[in-house]
Amino acid sequence: MATASQRTFVDRFPDEAAVVKANFLVAFVALGIGAFFGLVQTLHRTNIVRVIDSADYYTMLTGHGVLLAIVFTIFFLCGFFHWAIARSLDRPAESKLFSWAWFGLMTTGSALAAIAILGGLVPNLGISADVLFTFYAPLQAHPIFYIGLAMFIVATWLAGADWFLSYRVWRKDHEGERIPLQTFMVLTTMIMWYIATIGVAVSVVFFLIPWSLGLIPSVNPLLTRTLFWYFAHPIVYFWLMPAYMMWYTILPKLSGGRLFSDPLARVVFLLFLLLSTPVGIHHQYLDPGIAEGFKFIAMTNTMFLLLPSLLTAFTAVASMEHGARQRGGEGYFRWLGALPWRDPAFTGMAFAGILFAAGGFSGMINAGMNINYLIHNTLWVPGHFHLTVGTAVALTMMAGSYWLVPQLTGTKLYSRPIGLLQVTMWFIGMVFMSNAMHRAGLAGIPRRTAEPQYQNFDFVTPIGSIFELRVQIALGGTLLFLSVVLFLFNMLLTSLGEESDRPVDEYLPAPLSGAEGSPRILDNLTMWTGIAVLLVILAYTLPVAAIIQNGGGLFGGGLPVPATISAGLDLATTALTGAVNTLVGVIA
């Protein structure tokens, strides 16, 4: 009995483990290629080593962004969520075929987009997609880039359906029970994703695909850009939620403790569901054609979005502290020494959390409406997101793999010391690279530029020198690439290892403060979805209407109409959204 329940995940759910493994495989291949492109770029733009033509820099940059921020993160997420649903509901997926179908569609979509991007490196092929991760029109990619993207998005919708289906079937046998925490997290994240991806789906299907096929002559660039950001800020939380889920449900265990509070974890995920989407305009603070009032609304929503992250910081650290104290830790600070620093899964996640605290600060600057003039489109911004998606998410996923992958392969981690070295190298490499990027951004050095060395002027930095910043960026980027190589090597040898009875300690302890003490309304997903949709409608209806009206209609190219947005209406919307935000704050 006891041995049966202690069997490893692959023994209990062999079919699910196969799907998870396939997702991780695609994720890791993308990680390897994307990281290699990153190495080429870090050496190229700092003028340390230039092996490619500067025009190809943008092809590689597109590849780096799409392969890492879309393919790596989201395939990993799908594998992780598939694991979490089977594990926390303790039931296999309803249809193996359906799981493989969404995986197949997602992989096909990714492959099409990758072909379009990499085609740019082959002269005379006529296929390219040098449009970067943001694919702002009127820059145009080959149609298969957009088609691949659309297939990918649809596949993620199907994956979500797979998990919702499992939940519905589970619910029939478990009337009145609280939703298991990991399932709760998966479902709220997917609801957010459904709301968010409507933006990119509309943009790609109605505008970009017909336009790239020549069916419509032009698009309204501000409209497709706004639809992109409607989708692409919540995607930030789509990356982050699996990391948060690991911090809430796995990190406490890795620390030797228990989750501090289950109810607060639910509140945090609900806040992300509500606030992730009506904030995208904060990426457009310096866009003409959008009234200041709308930017202010986006900012207040964004600032309130700090709340769930700050709560997470407390809960995650408290859960670690619980572990440290159970392991004999004492004092105000000395308990930190009692944490299991020799475990790469723990240490990687802890490092990720530390750098996320720093990235949180630069994110607060990014969120501040007018201070955006200081850093908009400078190297500060990639400095920021290499701490967030590039570390909080990527390093947590790699660290989590040290604990997850043995459950899927039934083999022990090949080398714990290499794992420890890997996460430490990532930490050090990122400290070099991102601090230098932030400082370079303050000096005005632009992001996304192959040769940020100009004829007419020099950049100045108050402390240190521009050369020193370049060296730090190149050194940090190189360490990060080597870290990925070590990670992939360790994963490969782990999967080739011998089967073990106890490949990993899989047991997850119950939270200190369980769900039973929290209001049942937290589990009312229908209601929360309704509020989330309402907030999106409030935040986006007027700006989008104005953009369509003033920007020459849905497809651009029409006659300009003077911009007149009623100031009164503007004020009313600000007040309304502000009130809702306060309400949400109070409920929390």
Binding site: S54, A55, Y58, L61, D130, Y136, P138, L139, N220, P221, L222, F260, S261, P263, Y285, L286, D287, P288, G289, I290, E292, K295, M299, M303, F304, L307, L310, L311, A318, G368, M369, N370, I371, Y373, L374, H376, N377, T378, G444, P446, R448, T449, A450, E451, Y454, Q455, N456, F457, F459, V460, S513, G517, N550, G551, G556, G557, P560, V561, A563, A588
Partner: protein, 177 residues
């Protein structure tokens, strides 16, 4: 719902922090007078920019005592003016920029300053900047705009008043001829 006292304290501090941030930004807008790029610049048809009364021949135009308008067209991979000719403005002036894009989305960044905007086809970014001392600034495109993005740069020169006046007069005469 039971929340630990320490976490309640943290929650309260976090809310204060958030309100403090929003307060700072509001102070910057209302107190320090920092205006956002918004929709006041209106729109323009990017396909007929050459026929536009202002963007057809972009440059500087005097609108009042120490008041100027500067029209800038961004296109792959130049600022007009800015790249082949620097943008020239006099010291002690208040200059309203009108920046648009002819082909794809560009950026307009006066290096090392807070003058920074997106240039989007069909939209006009209108913003006002005060120039005090004579000097030179770099100008760069900070939004990827194609394979030559990294060569898209220029210069902005703040001239002494007398020097500027004679240059401006000469410009006016050339146009009339």
């Amino acid at each position: 719902m039971e929340i630990h006292a320490y976490e309640k304290l943290w929650l309260a501090l976090a809310l204060v922090l958030i309100v403090g941030f929003i307060g700072t930004i509001t102070y910057g807008a209302a107190g320090a007078g920092i205006d956002m790029i918004d929709d006041k610049g209106g729109t323009v048809d990017p396909t007929t920019l050459d026929d536009h009364p202002k963007f057809g021949d972009p440059g500087i135009e005097k609108t009042g005592e120490n008041q100027y308008d500067v029209y800038v067209v961004t296109r792959q991979f130049v600022f007009e003016p800015g790249t082949t000719q620097p943008i020239r403005v006099p010291e002690g002036s208040t200059v309203t920029f009108h920046v648009t894009a002819a082909d794809v989305i560009h950026g307009f960044e006066v290096v090392g300053t807070n003058a920074n905007t997106m240039a989007i086809p069909g939209q006009v970014a209108e913003f006002t900047v005060e120039f005090d001392e004579p000097g030179e600034y770099g100008l760069l495109c900070n939004e990827y705009c194609g394979s030559g993005h990294h060569v898209m740069e220029g210069k902005l020169v703040v001239m002494e008043q007398s020097e500027f006046d004679s240059w401006y007069e000469q410009q006016q005469q050339e146009e009339e001829n």
